[in-house]
């Protein structure tokens, strides 16, 4: 299998971009152009063999289809091959996995993967409904289940079984908001304090319930935005074009699925697809959890940061809360998690999220993160992109150098 490098990265602001009056492909084009500039190939952009777009809702909420072909034209990249990957909120990492496979197999040398979503063009309840279309249509959706509902039930069950408190959950929010305040692309750049979002007599109006026990500050915002990465085969002569930045290797990729209906799982608190996708990525990379320097974990609901960090072997099951309390997962801790601010504060434009997580891995591994949120001497970064309610999960490990 050929070794695959990430040679360029791009990112738009995450947030409410509706005021810019741009369509979905425009937003994607901005991130893609930044990636080309970062890679130093804007003039030589025709070396891109394949474009893969990650998006979940263009056809539903933006009335746009054929998005990959449209992006190719917007960027003047014809005759590059182009496909769209739709895999729910894991679309971004799935697209990177497919791009990786295209290069590793020898089919192409250079791939651009761009993920994007425009979710603020519809109302909040329409957005919630659109995301809920990933649930089982008869067993879940028809009964009014939504992702926040699942987030609430999962959080409640986790609290009951492992003794997680509201206060410990709020500590995760404080950490992620603190990281986001230093990330220029983050949706929510306002810090929050434990005193204000938990120990506050006005907690119910400052931090109201969304789906009890999930509060406003324990769930992600609805965001617009895009992110892009450019990948190249290490052994390709085209690597000669990419001298501007230090290449970062994709050392491991893994994905797995679980039952569509959450109620069919033996234990609804165990995220088997997360565990298996991580195992597969570790195996490919020749690494284990103890080798990982930092991670971006899919904290659409804060409890997921904890549960995912346990399933991928960072902490024992039910024990991640102690790490949060001790500051292990903060930027200066021994295992920083969600250095970008995570979905919680950086934002969650669903199709862009998986690509944005890998963007953050590359930025950290290059040592280019903003002051105050750069991880010290990172070697390996890991991203877990969580689709459905854990029924399709993709793990990506990026490394500064390939040490096996």
């Amino acid at each position: 299998m050929r070794k695959v490098y990430i040679v360029g990265i791009g990112h738009t602001n995450f947030g409410n971009l509706s005021e810019l009056d741009l369509d979905l492909v425009d937003i994607m084009a901005f991130a893609s152009t930044e990636a080309m500039d970062d890679a130093g190939i804007r003039k030589n952009r025709k070396i891109v063999d394949q474009v893969i777009v990650a998006n979940m809702g263009g056809g539903i909420i933006n009335h746009q289809t054929g998005i990959a072909s449209s992006l190719v034209s917007r960027l003047d990249l014809e005759p590059a091959m182009a496909e769209l990957i739709e895999n729910g909120p894991a679309s971004g990492a799935s697209a990177i996995k497919m791009g990786f496979a295209c290069i590793a197999s020898g089919m192409v040398d250079v791939v651009m993967v761009t993920g994007g979503e425009l979710m603020r063009t519809v109302s909040g309840w329409e957005g919630t409904d659109f995301i809920s279309t990933l649930l089982h249509p008869e067993a879940e959706y028809n009964y009014g289940l939504t992702l926040p509902a699942f987030g609430g039930m999962f959080t409640r069950l986790y609290m009951e079984r492992y003794g997680l408190t509201d206060r410990e959950l709020a500590m995760v929010a404080v950490k992620n908001h603190e990281n986001a305040t230093k990330n220029p692309y983050a949706h929510v750049i306002t810090p929050c304090t434990l005193e204000a979002i938990f120990d506050n007599p006005d907690v119910d109006t400052v931090n109201p319930y969304i789906a009890e026990p999930v509060r406003l500050y324990s769930t992600c915002p609805v965001s617009d935005g895009a992110a892009s990465v450019i990948m190249c085969a290490m052994d390709s002569p085209k690597m000669g074009y990419f001298k501007k930045k230090e290449p970062i290797v994709i050392s491991g990729v893994g994905s797995a699925t679980d039952t569509h209906c959450v109620h069919q799982r033996e234990d609804p608190l165990r995220l088997k697809a997360v565990q298996l996708s991580a195992e597969r990525a570790y195996k490919m990379a020749g690494l284990s959890a103890k080798d990982i320097s930092f991670a971006e974990l899919h904290d659409a609901f804060l409890v997921l940061e904890l549960a995912i960090s346990e399933e991928i072997g960072f902490f024992k099951i039910g024990a991640s809360k102690e790490a949060v309390v001790k500051g292990v997962t903060r930027i200066n801790g021994s295992l920083p998690i969600n250095t970008s601010g995570g979905l919680k504060a950086k934002g969650h434009p669903v199709g862009a999220t998986g690509v944005s997580q890998v963007y953050e891995l590359v930025k950290q591994l290059r040592g280019e993160a903003e002051k105050g949120r750069q991880v010290k001497n990172p070697k390996h970064g890991m991203a877990v992109n969580f689709g459905g309610f854990g029924n399709n999960v993709v793990t990506t490990i990026c490394s500064k150098e390939c040490k096996k």
């Binding site: 109302s123 309840w125 810090p191 304090t193 204000a196 006005d202 109006t205 400052v206 406003l216």
Partner: protein, 231 residues
């Protein structure tokens, strides 16, 4: 003098309104916002705060700012009956303004809610404070409400579950352009006030003193690059 007689005829009849009791709310970022009623002599700083937003089209700030400017100016010059204006202030800097008026002892009309500093639920807190004033302080039975922006519609009509009086249109209509009216009744308010109305009383004198002299903001997230000195 004839002028004074004319002026007297131009002024609306006024009902004496009880003064809103100040409160303090700790926002999510830890800042403490004092919510208090403004005095007529503070009109200048209120208008100074509102004026720059008159040209901001996003989220209908232009309509809200233009109308609120006129309403507060009208209050100052005795052309609006029974109006009250509440502000949210952090270290004395105005971060949000709401205004309202009452038609009679039982019925109020919510006028406008303007959030200057966004992302901290300041608008939601101030709107709730305005309703608190109508029901708890002034003892009203219902408040007529319309929304001029999607954000307002989500915040008030949906989150509060307001009673829809569209059926009674045009007999029952809000004075802001006659948009079909929704209503917050006292019974509905009593059900939801615990979830919506925040704030602690009495306010520590030191904290309250920070809002003694109101200041217009130097920065507006809605107006990148804004410099007050160039206004």
């Amino acid at each position: 003098m004839i002028v004074n007689k004319m002026e007297k005829r131009l002024r609306p009849p006024q009902i004496n309104l009880k003064t809103y009791i100040p409160k303090v709310i700790m926002l999510a970022n830890g800042e403490k916002m004092v919510v208090r009623e403004t005095k007529r002599e503070e009109t200048s700083v209120l208008l100074e705060t509102i004026f720059p937003l008159i040209e901001v089209q996003k989220d209908f700030y232009d309509i809200v700012a233009a109308r609120m400017y006129a309403e507060i100016l009208g209050w100052y010059r005795y052309r609006v009956a029974n109006e009250f204006v509440l502000v949210g202030a952090i270290d004395g800097v105005i971060v949000g303004i709401v205004n309202s008026r009452i038609i009679d002892e039982d019925v109020g009309i919510s006028l406008h809610t303007m959030t200057i500093k966004r992302g901290l639920r300041i608008g939601a807190q101030l709107f709730a404070s305005k309703m608190e004033n109508h029901f708890n302080m002034l003892g009203q039975k219902e408040v007529l409400i319309v929304a001029e922006s999607p954000i307002g519609f989500r915040r008030w009509m949906i989150e509060y579950g307001l009673e829809n009086r569209e059926d009674e249109y045009p007999k029952v209509q809000h004075e802001l352009g006659g948009v079909p009216t929704h209503v917050l009744t006292k019974s509905l308010y009593d059900i939801i006030c615990d979830q919506k109305v925040g704030g602690q009383r009495p306010v520590d004198s030191e904290i309250l003193a920070t809002a003694d002299i109101l200041k217009a903001p130097e920065e507006y997230e809605q107006i990148p690059g804004f410099e007050r000195s160039k206004q």
